[in-house]
Every structure is written in C-alpha cells, then in structure tokens.
C-alpha cells in the first residue's frame, strides 16, 4: 500500500516545483553559474554578455536537491544529536532511519552520476533522468521526516 503513495508524493513535489508564481517569467541573471556570461567593457560601461543559453532546468533540479538534502540532513543530525533520548522513546526511530541512510546515500550518488552525465551532454533526456533521481530522493526525504515523532 505504501508504494502507491510514492508517485503521489512525487507528483505533488514536482508540480509544486513547476507551478510556482512567476514560472513563465523566471530568468537567470546572466553571469551566474547557470547562465554563464563574460564582461565586456566599452566606453566606461560594463555589460555582461551571455556565452551560453541559461539552464533553468538544471538550476531548478539543483535547487530542489539542496532543499531535499538539507531536510534529510536536519533529520539525520537531529536523531544523532538526541539519540539516547529518542532511543529511550522508541528503538524504531533509529532503526527506521538506519534503513533509510544507505538508500539516501545511494540516491545522492545516483544524482551525482546523472548530473555529471547531463553536464557532459545537456539533453532533455538527461534532465529527465535528473528529475527521476530527484523524485526518489523526495520519497526518501518524506520517509525520513515521518520517522521522527512530532510533538
């Protein structure tokens, strides 16, 4: 039954990523890592000229990765810092997170592999692969958050 909720969660988060306000007008300032440019100085004026097309897709997945990673790290670190106390509450908390820790590490490595492949050859298929791995990380992030009992 639990496996049925993973595509629901994935759809929710990816829809949130794509449906935010200003989606149609989002722009990357030229000169940033995702919108590379070069400074041209002329008549005392400096202009940044784009040297490659901005990659909003990569920026979006990387930004989402940051959120998911930070969320997961916060829960893992909180459990580790308060391990003795949480252990006295329930052994299941650590045991549940211990099952998720290796899966999270694998998903992070999978994101790295997909990202390097995309950077070497940016294609829609490559970006789709990144989004798929991100979906797996999102499922894990949700599972990690569920493991800690809420006050």
């Amino acid at each position: 039954m639990r496996n049925l909720f993973k595509p629901i969660g994935l759809a929710l988060v990816l829809c949130a990523c794509l449906a935010f306000e200003g989606c149609a007008n989002r722009k990357l300032e030229t000169g940033g890592r995702y919108a590379p440019g070069v400074a041209i100085h002329e008549n005392g004026v400096t202009n940044i000229i784009a040297t490659a097309a901005p990659d909003i897709g990569l920026f979006t997945v990387d930004s989402t990765f940051e959120i998911l990673y930070s969320t997961i790290q916060t829960v893992f670190a909180t459990e580790r810092r308060n391990r003795d106390l949480l252990w006295s509450v329930s052994h299941d908390i650590k045991h549940t997170l211990d099952k998720l820790r290796p899966q999270v590490n694998e998903a992070i490595l999978a994101y790295d592999t997909a990202r390097r492949a995309y950077l070497a050859n940016p294609t829609p298929a490559g970006l789709s692969k990144l989004q798929t791995v991100l979906g797996q990380l999102q499922s894990l992030a949700s599972a990690v958050q569920t493991a800690i009992p809420k006050q």
């Binding site: 039954m1 629901i8 449906a19 930004s63």
Partner: protein, 73 residues
C-alpha cells in the same frame, strides 16, 4: 470496502508530502518574486551541490548519514 482505509491512508501520508511540496513552492516563489535569480544565488546553489557531491565522490560521508551501533540499552 477498501476505499475508506485507502483514503484514510492517503490522508495520513499526504501532510508530509504537502508540507514538503509547500516548502519547495515557497522557496521558488520567494526566489522568483523579483523575476530574476541573481548570480549570487545561482553560485550559492552550484557551490552547495558541488561541495556535497565532490565529498561523496571522495567517499566522505557525514557521520549523520552513516549507520552507527545502537546505544547500549
């Protein structure tokens, strides 16, 4: 007969997904408020991702991500 437990189960799971989805949505809404993602923000994200992935490639896993022995009961 399975519909009610299924709906209950979905509603139980939904808040976690909804909370995370809202967090992502709020993040992007704030970022795109001015219609422009600054070079500073772009570089911050890229540096963060590079730092995490470079460390993992070197086999460096933060202690909170590792499975450690159970506390002594």
């Amino acid at each position: 007969m399975l519909i009610v437990p299924a709906i209950t189960a979905v509603l139980t799971e939904a808040p976690n997904y909804i909370a995370l989805a809202k967090k992502v949505k709020d993040f992007f809404a704030e970022m795109f408020k001015q219609g422009m993602i600054t070079t500073a923000e772009q570089d911050r994200i890229d540096d963060f991702v590079d730092e995490v992935l470079d460390a993992r490639r070197r086999g460096q896993v933060p202690p909170e991500f590792t499975v450690e022995p159970d506390p002594e009961s």
